[in-house]
């Protein structure tokens, strides 16, 4: 009897107590470690009371450690093997570009003594030969000097058949790359190449580390250096990468521009935005990116500074204007203009994006290449209705949707599953219904949406009439191949990138012209014409300008963000005490 009662009491208490204490146990006090014992693995209860990292208690002075919160983990740390923004951006820490870009997106020399130009002999008159003079003091983090051999090797690696690099652009347009002496690199292009400032030498591969591997394996795909680039040329050196959790970089003592002020930088990988924001608000992280606009007020309330860094991206709608596969209505410029006038994008930006950005006019907004007279189409539904009537689209059967020659004005509007895009679609559907246009909304997984024509990707197979996504030319260069007739995807050309299927001969000629214009002013003139043409014909309808949003805690000082190379001045960053 007595045993039974105490057994019952014991069981009951154990169950209840352990359930409650599962939430409340304090880790540091030894007495409380009894409680976690009931709920956690038995092996763990004997933890010592020291919970601080060894570094914090051993170093005499407090080490300056910053933590960045990344919502995606890098796939690789080799600059030429990845397309991931989260990886390319981190390169500023441990790798080096020949020149990078400051917060006004102007190039500034890094490995070279000065930027090649016609005046200093760096650029040949015909625009085909570029000569770079390297600095004397540049070294890898293990002390080996950086020479032209590294540049030549990088070029060879990108072009090697066995290396599955992400992109060979623009190296496949080069005829040769030579290093006549250790301080000079000479690049010869097959044709004059205008966008060279933006696209060359976005990262350097160390010949003394990778060449032996290449000679032995025949490829550098599997080199250890790709995941652990312990030899680097940036202000910080790679230290550790724990898969799925974090990556650690420490200051490069041998950096030729001076040792950075911070000692260590951690990159923590979190699964999604909500945890990123929680970490920033709690002070567990010092920097985060890519927030939803609706999160900005609460971040700012927690003392996080928001920096808008324009990197060339604008969210907009491409119209399907394919000669055979497009909707007949969209071939008429009046219909496209009506759509632009019927959609109140300013209100969308004010309500959904909290007014923190602007409506986009063309994909070249915020660059000097945009025609200055362009400003976004206003909201004028009456004019839209008038234009549609003029174009012959009227509601002849009274079902609320306009039609012409028996074809209903029903357009398929597709985009990816991101929340802001779903919301935009819902608003567009409602507003366009008011002028008699019916929108059929569809949303897709990003991989399916961006798959090529050959893979039946939704954005490339001309099954949609309105295709929305965020696009950018080769910022900071205005060049893009999205409007070339030759890039229209088809069975013969399955990987083309012209998703609107438009072939406008005049526009095509202008694009071909600008790619060869090495003179800056001539190029700006050409682009003024291009942007005006795209805008007036509403080949592309701008929704909003899409800057990169960086959230920086008040602990970090001297932070400047560039649109092209965000962390260009990371050696100046400091912890404000």
């Amino acid at each position: 009897m007595v045993i039974r009662q105490s057994t019952r009491l014991f069981l009951f208490v154990l169950v209840v107590v352990s359930m409650i204490l599962a939430g409340c146990a304090q880790p540091a006090t030894p007495a409380a470690t009894q409680a976690p014992a009931a709920t956690e693995a038995p092996a763990v209860t004997e933890a010592p009371s020291v919970t601080e990292a060894p570094a914090a208690t051993e170093a005499p002075a407090e080490r300056k450690v910053a933590t960045f919160i990344w919502t995606q983990e890098f796939d690789t740390l080799n600059p030429y093997y990845t397309n991931m923004w989260f990886s390319s951006v981190t390169q500023q820490l441990y790798n080096c570009w020949a020149w990078d870009f400051d917060e006004a997106n102007k190039p500034q020399p890094r490995l070279v003594t000065e930027l090649p130009s016609v005046d200093n002999g760096g650029l040949s008159a015909d625009g085909k030969v570029i000569t770079m003079k390297l600095r004397d003091d540049i070294v890898w983090s293990d002390g080996t000097p950086i020479t032209s051999e590294d540049f030549v090797f990088t070029y060879q690696m990108i072009m090697a058949d066995r290396n599955t690099v992400a992109s060979r652009n623009p190296y496949d347009l080069m005829e040769k790359v030579e290093g006549p002496d250790a301080r000079t690199v000479v690049i010869t292009f097959k044709e004059p190449y205008a966008p060279w400032v933006a696209n060359l030498w976005r990262g350097l591969l160390p010949v003394h580390v990778l060449k032996p591997i290449f000679d032995q394996e025949g490829t550098i795909d599997t080199a250890e250096w790709n995941k652990a680039p312990t030899v680097g040329c940036g202000p910080f050196v790679f230290d550790q990468w724990e898969s799925g959790s974090f990556t650690r970089f420490v200051a490069n003592e041998k950096y030729w521009l001076g040792r950075p002020k911070l000692d260590e930088i951690f990159f923590r990988f979190v699964p999604d935005d909500a945890s990123q924001i929680a970490a920033l608000k709690a002070g567990d992280g010092d920097l985060g990116t890519f927030f939803a606009y609706s999160d900005l007020p609460e971040l700012e309330a927690a003392g996080i500074k928001i920096i808008n860094s324009f990197s060339g991206y604008n969210e907009g709608i491409y119209f399907n204007m394919h000669a055979e596969k497009g909707h007949p209505a969209l071939k008429d410029v009046k219909v496209r203009q009506a759509i632009a006038l019927a959609f109140d994008r300013q209100k969308l930006v004010d309500d959904l994006l909290l007014g923190r950005t602007k409506v986009a006019a063309t994909d070249w907004d915020n660059t000097p290449y945009n025609d200055p007279s362009i400003s976004p189409w206003p909201y004028d539904p009456e004019k839209a209705k008038a234009l549609l009537d003029e174009a012959g689209w009227v509601d002849s059967n009274g079902d609320g949707v306009r039609d012409k020659d028996g074809v209903e004005l029903v357009l398929k509007y597709g985009t990816t599953t991101r929340e802001i895009r779903q919301d935009t679609q819902a608003v567009a559907q409602q507003q366009l219904a008011e002028v008699g246009i019916k929108l059929d909304l569809q949303s897709f997984d990003p991989d399916i949406f961006f798959a090529s024509y050959a893979e039946n990707g939704a954005s490339a197979n001309f099954s949609l009439d309105l295709i929305e996504y965020s696009d950018s030319p080769n910022f900071p260069d205005p060049d893009t191949s999205a409007w070339l007739c030759a890039e229209i995807p088809s069975d013969e050309n399955p990987t083309g990138v012209n998703t609107s299927g438009l072939c406008d001969e005049e526009l095509d000629a202008l694009f071909k012209l600008q790619a060869s214009q090495v003179d800056y002013n001539e190029r700006v003139q050409t682009f003024n014409k291009i942007t005006k043409m795209i805008f007036e014909n509403v080949y592309w309808l701008g929704l909003w300008q899409d800057p990169d949003l960086f959230g920086v805690s008040s602990r970090l000082a001297n932070v400047k963000i560039s649109g092209v190379t965000p962390f260009f001045n990371i050696m100046e960053w400091d912890l404000a005490q």
């Binding site: 959904l352 929340e419 779903q422 819902a426 608003v427 997984d445």
Partner: protein
């Protein structure tokens, strides 16, 4: 001798045997009686009826256009008199959306259960009855479907069908074709468990004498299966079917949470939870109401299923 008195007139002994026995109860009546005594099952049944009324009856209070009406100026408002459940990220009323979402969620649950039932019972019956090579083959196929992780199958099917889904209009309501996709996906990934149960039932029942007798009298195979064996194994099928409605609704919520479910603007309780995760602190009403409704309906179905299991169990001592 005097103490043993002869039975007097009108006492029990005078009544004939026919009057003594109560008429036998049918299976349905017996089940209902036992079910009624199960307190929790009754509670579950009442809750279920209330939820169904909420979802389908609510359609008379709010129109579907209202449920889909966006008003970006009124986004993310906390519950108030005008919007008792608050508004979502584009200003749609959450109460109305839970009503219409409930219709779709319940529809998905029931239809997926039917798909699962049809496939599972067919495979299990054929496998259990015929045995031998057919049994081996079908069981290997069943194992194969079990081995492939359900999430993976869900992901693949959701992506495969995601490419081109037209909108469907039934009974005046238009919704995204991805509803049909989800129903198929759930049905195709959950039938193996039912098939195994049905198979083991068939394996044991077909050894009985009355089946031997039926065969001896020349009853056709299909008649044996449908008129003799199946009715006797109906109990676990009913229980399994009931519980699978709950798991179908939960599964739909999972798929939507991962972003592969029914596409907005068609609402389901599951896809209302999809984006709400980011607003855990700032807008709790986004995830709380749909989540609580899912929990409630699954809870009530589980109660009812549990009650049915006890009621249909011939060994039960509840009566």
């Amino acid at each position: 001798m005097e103490s043993i008195a002869p039975p007097s007139k009108g006492s029990i002994a005078n009544l004939s045997p026919d009057v003594l026995e109560t008429p036998p109860l049918s299976l349905g009546q017996l089940t209902w009686r036992r079910f009624r005594r199960h307190k929790m099952a009754n509670f579950g049944a009442i809750m279920l009826i209330l939820l169904v009324l909420y979802a389908f009856g609510g359609a008379f209070v709010f129109s579907e256009a209202y449920a889909n009406k966006t008003e970006t100026g009124a986004r993310l408002q906390a519950p108030s008199r005008e919007h008792p459940f608050g508004t979502d990220t584009v200003g749609r009323d959450i109460l109305a959306r839970t009503i219409y979402g409930g219709q779709i969620s319940i529809l998905i649950g029931l239809t997926a259960m039917l798909v699962e039932l049809v496939i599972g019972v067919t495979v299990g019956a054929i496998s259990g009855f015929f045995g031998g090579l057919i049994d081996s083959l079908l069981m290997r196929i069943t194992e194969a479907v079990i081995v492939i992780p359900q999430i993976f199958l869900l992901l693949v099917m959701a992506k495969y069908f995601a490419a081109s889904i037209p909108n469907i209009t039934i009974l005046g309501r238009t919704f995204s074709g991805s509803v049909v996709v989800i129903i198929l996906v759930i049905g195709v990934t959950t039938w193996p468990y039912l098939a195994r149960i049905v198979r083991s039932q068939f394996l044991s029942i077909k050894e009985n004498d009355f089946i031997l007798a039926a065969r001896a009298t020349g009853t056709s195979t299909s008649e044996i299966i449908f008129r003799h064996i199946l009715p006797n194994s109906i109990a676990p099928i009913i229980v399994s079917g009931t519980l699978s409605v709950a798991s179908a609704i939960t599964l739909e919520a999972y798929i939507s949470f991962l972003g592969l479910g029914v596409r907005p603007p068609t609402a389901t309780w599951g896809n209302m939870l999809e984006g709400a995760y980011n607003y855990i602190e700032t807008a709790w009403w986004l995830w709380f109401f749909p989540g609580a409704l899912i929990a409630l309906i699954v809870l009530s179905i589980n109660f009812v299923g549990d009650g049915l299991r006890d009621a249909l169990d011939p060994h039960s001592r509840a009566i």
